[in-house]
């Protein structure tokens, strides 16, 4: 069956039916996203009207009971934890994939890959629990109080590492072997081949991995809630406790009413905005550095 956007070359009835079904399913997926965004906007709108858009960024603090709604501390909390985790997990993940493809002994590769896949499958609450009983006390010994930005970054790094590593692994595997043969025939060393040819050729897949990592890091709620301390403040160093946007919603949604409730929806909306900006940024970098 050959389909062009407006022409169905195969005139059969079954074919037409299939087209309708596919169009319906595609429309459903698209509308779902729009509905969610619309719902968020609808629920957040009272907040913007009652409290005022600028209040979210200029109020004295986040004290919803007293009517203060500054979310910047939590925006910074989310951003810093995510950036720290992505900066750590990206080189680790790419190194892991490069090791898998070019340096690891053959017998080692499959078990190693399975381990990374297992790491990706561990529920976040388990990471949070481990962070709470092991990591936080450790950091507390190093520099009190313990629950901190550093704990959040560490947990997030471990959580998004497998995502980035597996995506990098898949994208390295897709690099055409002719590049490799060409490099070897030129007598290039393995390190030069990886650094100058394979990695640039895999940029597109690598950045997709980073985007997924960003999405997972910024959206993570439970583990962050358990290890970060949840104090609403802009962390000034790695050992300061802080609260993320997601943890804020989870903590307060249960008892929030009226303006407070709408303000929480507004933070959800903000979260979406942050993710979109990060994805566009990575896309932009990707386009500038792809030669393929």
């Amino acid at each position: 069956m050959i389909l062009l956007p407006n022409i169905t070359l195969s005139p059969s009835r079954v074919d037409q039916l299939l087209v309708w079904i596919l169009q319906g399913l595609a429309a459903f997926a698209g509308i779902l996203v729009l509905l969610i965004v619309g719902f968020l906007m609808l629920e957040a709108f009272p907040a913007v009207r009652q409290i005022g858009f600028l209040s979210f960024f200029s109020d004295a603090s986040w004290h919803p009971v007293e009517g203060f709604y500054n979310v910047m501390a939590m925006v910074w909390g989310s951003l810093l934890a995510m950036l720290g985790a992505v900066l750590l997990a990206t080189p680790l993940g790419i190194c892991s994939a490069v090791f898998c493809h070019f340096y690891a002994p053959t017998w080692f590769v499959e078990p190693y890959r399975k381990l990374i896949e297992l790491l990706a499958g561990i529920p976040s609450v388990v990471y949070g629990l481990w962070g709470l009983v092991v990591l936080v006390p450790l950091i507390g010994q190093l520099h009190p109080p313990g629950p901190s930005l550093l704990a959040g970054i560490s947990i997030l790094t471990i959580m998004i590492l497998p995502t980035i590593a597996l995506m990098a692994d898949a994208s390295l595997a897709k690099v055409p072997s002719v590049y490799l043969r060409g490099a070897i025939a030129l007598g290039l060393s393995r390190w030069t081949t990886i650094r100058c040819i394979i990695i640039p050729a895999a940029t597109s897949g690598l950045s997709t991995g980073i985007i997924l990592g960003i999405g997972r890091a910024i959206g993570e709620t439970m583990a962050m809630l358990m290890v970060c301390g949840n104090v609403v403040q802009v962390p000034t160093n790695l050992f300061d406790p802080m609260r993320t946007l997601t943890a804020n919603i989870a903590l307060e949604m249960a008892y929030a009413v009226e303006d407070h409730r709408a303000a929480l929806f507004f933070t959800g909306f903000l979260l979406l905005g942050v993710v979109i900006v990060m994805v566009l940024a990575v896309d932009y970098i990707k386009q500038r550095h792809t030669y393929a």
Partner: protein
């Protein structure tokens, strides 16, 4: 990449550091000597190659002369390309590939344990059937091998790039767009860029595996003229299915044939002998189009 390759590449990596110190300035000949004083450069002595237990070709004894253009012709599966890949030990990449017999390049034993493979491949460039420029800019494609061998001075690399692109007749076509992706060039231009990439390291031998067969007739003609111009300056070994091409450009030719699934060298000699007074019945049949 197979298991054998990894071990190989690991050894090779250590060698690359050493190799600069004992680099022998072989390079192309300063002057274009008259090609055809038969001075053997490559000698194969009862050379056989096995993939696992399946022989690709057996018992090839043959000399290839310095500065000449030598064509390998014959039907598919007769071991021509396998023979070619022995010359730069690209056979190392294939797991389970065994080579028996002697192969020497000058006074270098190609398959000896202590042979520096990176150094060998620097001396023996290879052009593949499908043009395989790296997914980088035109300039970076040529800079990469130079940098690998320690030529990093910008003035020197720019000079070499211009000179080599001139040699392959590409300079005027690309001089004002050296920084565009190489993959945007046409097929014929890509293939000439690949030839330039091999030539920029001043190799002694150039291996070509059907370099024109993926190109349109016009580009094919341009590349063929370029290959013909390399005669005398480099020792060129070319696999081709195009008998007319072999006859037009080669000084020497050899016919490979399949006997019971095993490749063999049937006849070799000056092009005039192979095409005008073949000694072997199969050669006569093949070049006249009766067989093969």
């Amino acid at each position: 990449m197979g298991g054998g390759t990894l071990v190989e590449a690991k050894d090779v990596l250590g060698m690359s550091a050493r190799s600069t110190s004992r680099f022998q300035p072989w390079g192309p000949f300063e002057e274009r000597s008259a090609c055809c004083e038969p001075h053997p450069l490559i000698r194969a002595e009862k050379l056989s190659l096995y993939y696992g237990n399946t022989p690709a070709f057996e018992g090839v004894s043959w000399s290839i002369y310095q500065g000449c253009l030598t064509a390998l012709v014959g039907p598919s599966g007769s071991g021509k390309t396998s023979f070619l890949t022995c010359l730069n030990r690209l056979t190392d990449l294939i797991p389970g590939c065994r080579v028996i017999g002697e192969l020497s390049l000058g006074d270098l034993n190609v398959f000896a344990e202590q042979t520096d493979v990176l150094q060998l491949r620097r001396q023996v460039g290879m052009i593949f059937q499908k043009p395989n420029p790296f997914p980088l800019s035109i300039r970076k494609n040529l800079e990469l091998p130079l940098r690998e061998y320690g030529i990093i001075d910008r003035g020197r690399t720019d000079h070499l790039i211009e000179q080599t692109l001139n040699d392959v007749g590409l300079w005027r076509e690309v001089q004002d767009r050296l920084d565009v992706p190489a993959l945007r060039l046409s097929g014929g231009q890509q293939q000439r860029l690949c030839i330039a990439r091999a030539l920029i390291l001043s190799p002694q031998v150039l291996l070509m595996d059907e370099p024109c067969s993926a190109l349109d007739p016009l580009s094919s003609g341009v590349v063929e003229d370029l290959i013909a111009r390399l005669r005398g300056q480099y020792t060129v070994v070319i696999v081709t299915h195009n008998l007319a091409q072999a006859r037009r450009i080669a000084d020497y030719a050899s016919l490979f044939w399949v006997h019971d699934g095993v490749g063999q060298l049937i006849e070799e000699g000056p092009v005039s002998q192979i095409f005008e007074t073949p000694q072997h019945d199969l050669t006569a049949a093949y070049i006249s189009g009766v067989r093969g």
